[in-house]
Each structure stands twice: as structure tokens, then as C-alpha cells.
């Protein structure tokens, strides 16, 4: 059984160890490049068009030194790019990244490739929480907090009910319970719309629930979501290998030395915080949290160390792409939620058909 391997063979193996993760890092590099390119393009394209070379001058002037040529054209560009387009671009990247990372986390935690923030009811829970806060007239930080609390209670409900109903074994039970909890929260949401007396706040809630970046894009929101994403991403990064061990179930993970209940609390809090904040800012944007981690897993495999950053960047890129489409191709301001659902549903069915073959 025990053989002494010769040196040459060991060397080959050593290079193989890094090969799968190096493919992941390549992908990360291209995703980052794609984000940069699309950000630059998004900044110059729109109702008013600029040249990429002018954007370069503008960015240079802001980052290091040479003062901006004093002309009205540049001043107009500065306003359009920095106050209107960039906040929206960054916000869409952050929302996509946050939703997709939470999706990846929930999927590994519940060992269920079909769950996502929207399927677990976290999004609709957070949506109801935020609507309630808006109707009551809470200030902004309280809106986020209420969204978070409602999102958490949705996860809690889904986990508890599916444990009672299916002993957490079946992949389908959790999805069904998620559907039920989502629709429960949607009913609350409709009730809030119904009793909301003020026409303006009703329109606000309705538009915002459809998921849109047009109303939400401000530097304040960008900073809030950036802070929350960093806050939640760091712990997830450090537990990513422990999340891997969860793939074999809680008992096996604990036999490998993982403190399962502590780990579950950390990752549910982080994932829910990201989803709730993104939802409180931009409304319900479906499917991203399900599809992007799924596609990423097909490409880089399930190892969380590489899946986590890949989901973050790929989610950001996808969301930016969709929002750029909405902004540049369609007239008016169509909510992005409509596009993500239109694109997401068929893609999901495709993935579903492919995956069941693979899992059984």
C-alpha cells in the first residue's frame, strides 16, 4: 500500500495542485478587466456622450494632479459622470455582487444548489421590512435595520419549518417552504400598499419593489452598501474553508473540527445583511443570487475559496451589464428586476435540466 514515490512524480503533482485554482484566478482577472471596461464605457455612454480620452483626462485630474482644463464641456462632463453615472454604476456592481455572494453562501450552507436569497424569502422579507419602515416614516438607517430584521426572520422561518417538515433532508422541501414564506411576506407587502393612504409613497413603494437603480443611485447609498459588503465579506472569506466542509453535512463537518452552530450564525448573519441592505436600497431584484453562483460553480468548481470572489465579481459584472442595457437600450427607466427575471427564468430551467442529470 505504502510506496515511496520517485522524485519526478512528486514534482508533477506539486504543479497540479495549483492548476485548478490558477484557472480560477485567471477568471477573476478577466472578470475584473470586464468590470473596468464596462465601467468606463458606461461612464461615457448615455443621453450625453463623451470620449473615452476625455474620461481619462477627467479621472487623471481627480486622482493625481494635472488640473482639469477649464471649459464648460469638462464641467458638464464632471457633473454627469461623477454625480449621475458613476454612483449608479458602482451601486449596480455592489448590488449584483452582494446578492450573488449571499446566494453562494446560502447554497453551500443548506447544501442545496437551488436556494437563493429570493427563493428563501429573504428578499421579500427585507422588502416588507423596508416598506413598513417607509410607510411609518422611519429615517434611512432604521429602514436598513428593519429590512435586516425582517430578512433574518424569513430565513429563520424557512429553516425551522423545513426542519420540522422534511428533517432538512430533502432539497425540494426547503424550496417549497421558501415559496410559502415568500408569498406570506408578499401578502404583508400588498397589505402595506393597500393601507398606504398617501399616493406618492404608494408609487414609491411599487416602483422600488420592482427593483431599480435609477432612484437609488447616490454616493451615500454606494458607501452604505460598500461598507456592508466589506463588513460581511471579510468573515466569509476567513471561514470559506469551513464552509467547504459543510458540503458533507453538519455532523461530518463537526467531526472534522468545525464549530457548526457558530459557523451557521456567522454566515446567515453575513449573507442576510448583504441581501437586506441591497434590497432596502434597490428593491427586489430576483434570480441573480441563484444563477450567478450556479454558473460560477460550473466554471470554477465548488471550492468556496475561489467561488466566493468569483461570485462577487461575476454578480457585479452581470448586474452592471443588465443595468447598462436598461439604461442605454430601452427608452425611459425600466426596472432591472424585470430584465433579471426575463433572463433568469429560462436560464434557471436550462440549469435545472442539466444539473439533475449530474446530481443523481
Amino acid at each position: 500500500m505504502t510506496q515511496i514515490p520517485d522524485k519526478a512524480q512528486t514534482k508533477v503533482k506539486a504543479s497540479e495542485i495549483s492548476s485548478s485554482s490558477s484557472r480560477g484566478f485567471q477568471l477573476l482577472f478577466f472578470l475584473a478587466l470586464g468590470l473596468l471596461a464596462l465601467t468606463a464605457l458606461g461612464a461615457v455612454r448615455g443621453r450625453v456622450e463623451f470620449l473615452l480620452s476625455d474620461l481619462w483626462i477627467l479621472v487623471k485630474a481627480h486622482l493625481w494632479g494635472p488640473a482639469l482644463p477649464d471649459s464648460p464641456a469638462y464641467r458638464q462632463m464632471e457633473v454627469v459622470v461623477f454625480s449621475i453615472r458613476l454612483p449608479r454604476i458602482f451601486l449596480s456592481i455592489l448590488v449584483g455582487g452582494a446578492l450573488s455572494v449571499s446566494g453562494a453562501v446560502y447554497q453551500n450552507l443548506f447544501r442545496n444548489p437551488m436556494v437563493a436569497p429570493d427563493i428563501l424569502g429573504v428578499s421579500s422579507g427585507a422588502g416588507v421590512g423596508a416598506s413598513l419602515a417607509i410607510v411609518i416614516g422611519f429615517p434611512s438607517p432604521l429602514i436598513h435595520l428593519t429590512a435586516f430584521v425582517f430578512g433574518l426572520s424569513a430565513v429563520f422561518l424557512v429553516v425551522t419549518i423545513s426542519q420540522i417538515a422534511g428533517h432538512n433532508r430533502s432539497l425540494v422541501v426547503m424550496i417549497l417552504v421558501g415559496v410559502v414564506v415568500s408569498s406570506l411576506f408578499s401578502a404583508f407587502g400588498s397589505f402595506l400598499k393597500y393601507i398606504s393612504s398617501d399616493d406618492q409613497s404608494l408609487t414609491n413603494i411599487v416602483l422600488w419593489l420592482m427593483g431599480s437603480f435609477a432612484q437609488a443611485s447616490s454616493w451615500t447609498n454606494v458607501l452604505i452598501l460598500l461598507g456592508v459588503t466589506i463588513l460581511a465579506y471579510i468573515p466569509l472569506f476567513f471561514v470559506s474553508y469551513r464552509i467547504n466542509a459543510l458540503a458533507f453535512g453538519e455532523e461530518e463537518a463537526s467531526s472534522m473540527g468545525v464549530n457548526v452552530s457558530g459557523l451557521k450564525i456567522i454566515i446567515i448573519l453575513c449573507a442576510t445583511l448583504m441581501t437586506a441592505t441591497a434590497t432596502a436600497i434597490c428593491g427586489l431584484i430576483g434570480w441573480v443570487g441563484l444563477l450567478i453562483p450556479h454558473l460560477c460553480r460550473f466554471i470554477v468548481g465548488p471550492n468556496f475559496q475561489i467561488l466566493l470572489p468569483t461570485s462577487l465579481l461575476a454578480g457585479g459584472l452581470f448586474m452592471l451589464l443588465v443595468d447598462s442595457l436598461v439604461r442605454l437600450v430601452f427608452p425611459g427607466e425600466m426596472p432591472v428586476g424585470i430584465i433579471t427575471s426575463l433572463a433568469g427564468a429560462p436560464l434557471f430551467i436550462y440549469v435545472l435540466c442539466r444539473s439533475t442529470l449530474k446530481w443523481n
Binding site: P5, I17, R111, Y241, A245, A247, M256, G257, P302, K358
Partner: protein, 258 residues
């Protein structure tokens, strides 16, 4: 070192399934737990592993009570080899074996070069090189069982607990896994395993426990416990243990010819 189960009582809530079970598993020996379905083998196993807390008694390694250790520290004494099962995610074999190192990761929870080295050594010991880059979900049952053993070895715990390691495998793979278990004991691991096959006990065991319904046990050396009388008594069918050259096997007692 010795893994000691002292007057262990286990069960769920108030329902005691196993009462007053004691045994000692020394390093370098294989201890087999044999018994019919439903007598509480799995419950006992889960209690030893700390998934269930003991209703009475204790599980100790030397004088250290395992119930008082953190999950992380316990993982340095006991490693678990489950029956290879379903996972929805297609981890590579190397990634799966790396999971066994989780309890050894440092402050930031990431593998160090020593962890990669340990994984590589285990892969070489069990001759798993051809599988290392393949996806766990695409392996055969026997290959998965070997990977589960490799994962437990990477944990570098003193004792290995194996839940029916050779069940659900074809004959060739059964022999392969039993051979691995024998070699593990030679290398100094204490092995505690459950099985349904007395023949497997003869092929790799040193000590055995026979669990019978009604919460009664027989524990001790192999030839004292696994006898024709005890097996007949336990399973309620005429069974005999016969010597065949230098090994013993177990078979249904032939009915007298008319």
C-alpha cells in the same frame, strides 16, 4: 493511547437505546462492533463522536474526557469515516481530502503549505493519485470510501471511527478497504468500526463487541466473542464459525441430511 468508553448510556432525549456500554480500544488495534439492525450501533457511534451527548458515562482518550473538549480539539483525537454519501457539490478529491485538515488551519482558516503536504502524503499512501483531480461525485462507491478514509487520515487523529466501511461495496472493494484498515492498525491508528459481516471482523479485527437487542453486550477478544453459540444466540438462526486453513469464516449451520 486508549479510547475508553465507560458505562456509556446513549439515546435520544429520554429514550435510552444503549445502556451501560464499556470497552477499551488501544492504539494499533481494530475494534469491531457487530449486531443486528436496530440495536443502537449508530446511536452509540454518534455518541462517541459527540453528535449526541451521552445520557450516562463518558468517552475518554487516556484520562481526557472528550465531552469537555471543543469540537476542534476533539477532532485531533477522533476522525470519522462515514459511509460515502451524496453531496450536491462536485468537489475534487483533493479538495475533499483537504477538508480533513480543517481543524488544523490557523487563525485565518486557510491551508498552509504543511496542510498541502499532508494531503499529498495521504494521497500517496492510499495510491489515490489517479483520482486526485477527479470530481468526488463521479467516483464509484469503493473509490468514494477510500477518499473518505483519506480525509480522516489527513485529520491526523489518533483514532478512526468507521461506520460500516465495507458495506455497499462490491467484493473486490470490500477486500481492498479491509486491507487498508489492517494497514492503518499496523501504522498505529486505533480503529473502531461497525459492520454487518462477521467475516469482515475475522479479516481485520482484534477485538469485537456483539450487541444484542435488550441492551446486552458481549465484548472482548475476537475468538471469545465471535463464536458459533454467540452468533446463533444473537441472530436467532443456526450459525457456525469454522476454521479454514489459517482463517476463520462464518456460515449458516448446515441442516442435518435426512
Amino acid at each position: 493511547m486508549e479510547l475508553k468508553l465507560e458505562n456509556l448510556g446513549c439515546g435520544y432525549g429520554h429514550r435510552k437505546v444503549v445502556e451501560d456500554f464499556s470497552c477499551v480500544i488501544p492504539s494499533g488495534k481494530v475494534f469491531c462492533l457487530l449486531g443486528p439492525n436496530g440495536v443502537g450501533k449508530t446511536t452509540l457511534f454518534k455518541t462517541v463522536l459527540g453528535f449526541l451527548s451521552p445520557l450516562a458515562g463518558s468517552v475518554k482518550v487516556d484520562e481526557q474526557d472528550l465531552a469537555q473538549l471543543s469540537t476542534k480539539d476533539r477532532a485531533r483525537y477522533l476522525a470519522y469515516v462515514p459511509q460515502a454519501q451524496f453531496t450536491p457539490f462536485a468537489f475534487t478529491v483533493r479538495d475533499v481530502i483537504m477538508m480533513g485538515r480543517t481543524s488544523r488551519f490557523g487563525l485565518f482558516g486557510r491551508p498552509a503549505p504543511t496542510d498541502r503536504q499532508a494531503v499529498q502524503e495521504v494521497i500517496e499512501q492510499l495510491s489515490l493519485e489517479p483520482l486526485a483531480k477527479r470530481q468526488f461525485t463521479q467516483l464509484s462507491g469503493g473509490e468514494r470510501q477510500l477518499v473518505m478514509i483519506a480525509r480522516a487520515l489527513a485529520q491526523q487523529a489518533s483514532f478512526l471511527l468507521m461506520d460500516e466501511p465495507a458495506s455497499n461495496l462490491d467484493f473486490g472493494n470490500q477486500l481492498k478497504v479491509l486491507k487498508v484498515i489492517r494497514s492503518l492498525a499496523k501504522r498505529g491508528f486505533g480503529v473502531f468500526l461497525t459492520t454487518h459481516f462477521p467475516d469482515h471482523v475475522f479479516q481485520c479485527g482484534h477485538y469485537a463487541a456483539l450487541m444484542r437487542s435488550g441492551q446486552s453486550f458481549l465484548t472482548g477478544a475476537l475468538d471469545e466473542v465471535i463464536t458459533s453459540i454467540n452468533l446463533t444466540d444473537t441472530y436467532g438462526l443456526p450459525i457456525e464459525v469454522i476454521e479454514l486453513g489459517d482463517i476463520r469464516i462464518c456460515r449458516p449451520k448446515p441442516e442435518p441430511k435426512p
